[in-house]
Amino acid sequence: MSEALETFLARLYSSVLETESFLQDRAAYVHAAGLPKQHLVDVLAIDAESIRFAARSFEHKRRRSEPR
């Protein structure tokens, strides 16, 4: 089941737009993404500033083309 959670997180981390969309309406986003219910609590509890910062940081690094 961790595969589904990883895929969900990769989706959020791969685009700032996805992250913002998730933060706007978490429940609807999670439902649309088809995340198994067992991970619902985990992703609803994500700290908004932390994931926003992480997503922006990934975006910045992608633009710099630095892989690490």
């Binding site: 089941m1 961790s2 595969e3 959670l5 990883e6 895929t7 997180l9 990769a10 989706r11 981390y13 791969s14 991970h39 985990d42 992703v43 509890a45 994500i46 700290d47 500033e49 932390s50 994931i51 926003r52 910062f53 992480a54 940081s57 990934f58 690094k61 992608r62 630095e66 892989p67 690490r68």
Partner: protein, 301 residues
């Protein structure tokens, strides 16, 4: 395959002494060659060499004969419940076979899942399914490349959602399950300590230091998030802060064999004399750690 003789010689060296060097960057190439006598080891970023010309590969192979070389891979995505990228793995294996480095390394990170490319290193949830996948991926990597990688801790600004363990518990479980050596990135460790309100020394001591064979040193900067919280970003564009050398000293006092220490810098390169000074600081920190280690061993005896 990998040069047997060189491997044997460097294996002896690895047990015998610490090595301090830096990550190869084309911008630093001339200075690196001029000061090669002051550099004990080098690191090559594998992903940048996948499309290297025959001439460049020959040059890297020659370099690997002059100085112990680490082949550092960044995008295999080993720490994942999902299978490692086989094409990338084959490329790393081909590169290792052609360059014959001293050892190779990868991060304990996932970089893609379900068709989504993150384009950077992310921490997967620290939980049993991730551990099982990681063990499978590392075994597969060993089979394809021919040797176990050194596995590196990463910096993360978010505690992986769904985690059941701490970062250090996860790392310890992976290293135990795979018997891989650890590449300890001290700035990544410091960044995680900073961002999660932990004492870096306490976090360092919680790591399996007896398994550390190589170390990364780098720098970063403080960035404020939208809520005004100060966060430390590991950007490889700044000098390593003093605390990184202090952590290196502690690591040196605990390490059970010779350490390969690599200074990493990805841009905003300072004058090369400043780079050499940082290598000297690293050697001095290691020497202090080793002296402490000798003292405690003689006291115990």
């Amino acid at each position: 395959m990998w040069g047997r003789m060189r491997r044997g010689l460097w294996k002896l060296n690895e047990a015998a002494r610490d090595r301090v060097g830096l990550a190869w960057r084309d911008e630093l190439a001339v200075d690196i060659h001029i000061h090669l006598q002051d550099i004990d080891c080098l690191e090559i970023l594998a992903d940048r060499e996948f499309c290297a010309s025959r001439q460049r590969i020959a040059a890297l192979r020659e370099l690997a004969r002059q100085v112990p070389l680490s082949l550092h891979s960044v995008a295999l995505g080993l720490a994942s419940s999902q299978p490692v990228d086989e094409k990338r793995l084959a490329r790393v294996a081909a590169l290792a076979s052609r360059i014959e480095p001293d050892h190779w390394s990868e991060h304990l990170a996932f970089v893609r899942a379900g068709g989504f490319e993150i384009g950077h290193l992310a921490a997967a949830p620290y939980r049993p399914e991730t551990l099982e996948g990681t063990l499978r991926n590392v075994e597969r990597a060993q089979h394809v490349v021919g040797r176990l990688p050194h596995l590196e801790n990463i910096a993360t600004s978010i505690r992986p959602p769904g985690s059941l363990w701490s970062e250090e518990q996860f790392i310890d479980a992976v290293l135990q399950g795979t018997r891989t050596p650890m590449l300890l990135d001290l700035h990544n460790l410091y960044a995680n300590a900073w961002n999660f309100g932990r004492d870096p020394l306490e976090l360092l001591r919680a790591m399996p230091l007896e398994k550390v064979r190589s170390v990364h040193l780098s720098g970063g900067c403080i960035v404020r998030d939208a809520a005004g919280n100060a966060r430390l970003v590991d950007d490889h564009l700044h000098d390593p802060p003093d605390v990184v050398f202090e952590l290196l000293q502690v690591d040196g006092a605990q390490a059970t064999c010779g350490l390969t220490v690599i200074l990493e810098r990805d841009g905003l390169f300072p004058d090369f004399n400043a780079v050499l000074r940082q290598l000297s600081l690293a050697r001095a920190a290691l020497a202090r750690g080793r002296a402490q280690q000798a003292l405690s061993r003689s006291a115990a005896a």
